[in-house]
Amino acid sequence: MIVFQQVEKHYGDFHVLKGIDLRIAQGEVVVVVGPSGSGKSTLLRCVNRLEAITSGDLTVGGVDVTDKKTDINKLRREIGMVFQHFNLYPHLKVIDNITLAPVKALGVPKPQAAETARMYLEKVGIADKADAFPSQLSGGQQQRVAIARALAMKPKIMLFDEPTSALDPEMVGEVLDVMKTLAREGMTMVVVTHEMGFAREAADRVVFMNKGQIVEIAPPKEFFEQPKEERARLFLKRVLRH
């Protein structure tokens, strides 16, 4: 579904991604972990070309992401994305946040889009907030709206960029629960997170990155119990100690 082959990315002199090789299958849940600045978010943002790669090959569902001829908007409609800071549109009600892209990008009639939106709001457990503005919601609720907004496009892939990092600790669970449900339903997911509990429970594979490279890829049980690489062991020792 997503294939990285020898992907390199530079920001000026800074070499952010180095020789990335990664194949993610349909329905797979891949959790990307690693220290700050290791390139996790950049890796994720390359998938829908929020960041352009410098060299190498990157395809999503067989479509070349880097090709100038690729209709990037069409490709992006099939890739949902959830951000660390939610990025809900503050001037629009929750329901309009969710229907905007289906109506404008897919041409779904408004009433039908609203119906779909309500269904997804129900799914993420906040059906009663449809007519609220984002600023009236808690962080956890906002992030669930953001997930509903991404799902309303009926994407084939969902990208999560540290979805719980900006949340109060007591709100983390409600967002992770929604993500676990999605994972169980067979959504293809790439999740950058520091939530090791989620990785352990929901991931099919864990990707550990350090300094722009993929250091280790392993099923969660193996990764958490007997990591092969020294750097991964050190990382786990630090994050799992508390």
Binding site: N48, R76, I79, N87, P90, L100, R149
Partner: protein, 217 residues
């Protein structure tokens, strides 16, 4: 105390000018808002030629006097075989000139919208224009209202440039009345009062709009 009879005796002339000033202002205001928005979007576009056009426009137009901008239309176009009236040249010149300031105000507003907003919109498959139209500009406009209302108040006052080109605006007829009555000071007091009739409500409306939008934050 100014001589009120100057106003009452020439009421029709004053009103003719007043009407034309309103017309010129409304047309230039709407035009400069539309043009300025387009130029602002050009200026921050990722397409280099568009950015050059936008930047070139703003830096060129806003750095020459308004009077000279209107000169281009009034004296420049006839050499290309197009002759337009003073009113049209003045209004178009005013529009073109104000658009450069409007563009800068709108650009600053757009830049103040967090980048995550357009990222979220683009990631959902909306085009650049749709993102601007539905996500970025509606948020930018709140920030833009105070500087924009300044520009529009300036525009109303700057419309007096029409008088130089026989544009039949308020200032033009003011000159006529002053020339006839020799009561220069009294004549222009009423001209000033009529400009205030236009600009003060504009100021208040901007303030009100600002408050209203702030409430729906």
């Amino acid at each position: 105390m100014p001589d009120v009879s100057i106003f009452t005796d020439h009421f029709g002339i004053y009103m003719k000018g007043f009407g034309n000033t309103i017309w010129a202002s409304v047309i230039a205001l709407l035009g400069s808002f539309a043009l300025g928005t387009i130029i602002a979007v050009f200026r921050i576009s990722s397409v280099k030629p568009l950015r050059w056009i936008g930047t070139g426009y703003v830096e060129f137009v806003r750095n020459i006097p308004l009077l000279l901008v209107v000169f281009v239309f009034y004296y420049g176009l006839p050499s290309l075989g197009v002759t337009l009236s003073g009113f049209v040249c003045g209004t178009v010149g005013l529009m073109v000139y104000t658009a450069s300031f409007v563009a800068e105000a709108i650009r600053a507003g757009i830049m103040s919208v967090p980048s995550g907003q357009s990222e979220a919109a683009r990631a959902s498959g909306l085009t650049y224009m749709q993102t601007m139209r539905h996500v970025v500009l509606p948020q930018a406009i709140r920030i833009v209202i105070p500087p924009l209302s300044n520009q529009f108040i300036n525009l109303v006052k700057n419309s007096s440039v029409l008088s130089v080109f026989a544009g039949f605006d308020l200032m033009y007829y003011g000159d006529q009345v002053a020339g006839k009555t020799y009561a220069t000071f009294d004549t222009y007091i009423f001209v000033a009062a009529l400009y205030l009739v236009l600009t003060l409500p504009l100021s208040f409306a901007a303030l009100k709009l600002e408050r209203k939008l702030a409430k729906n934050g």
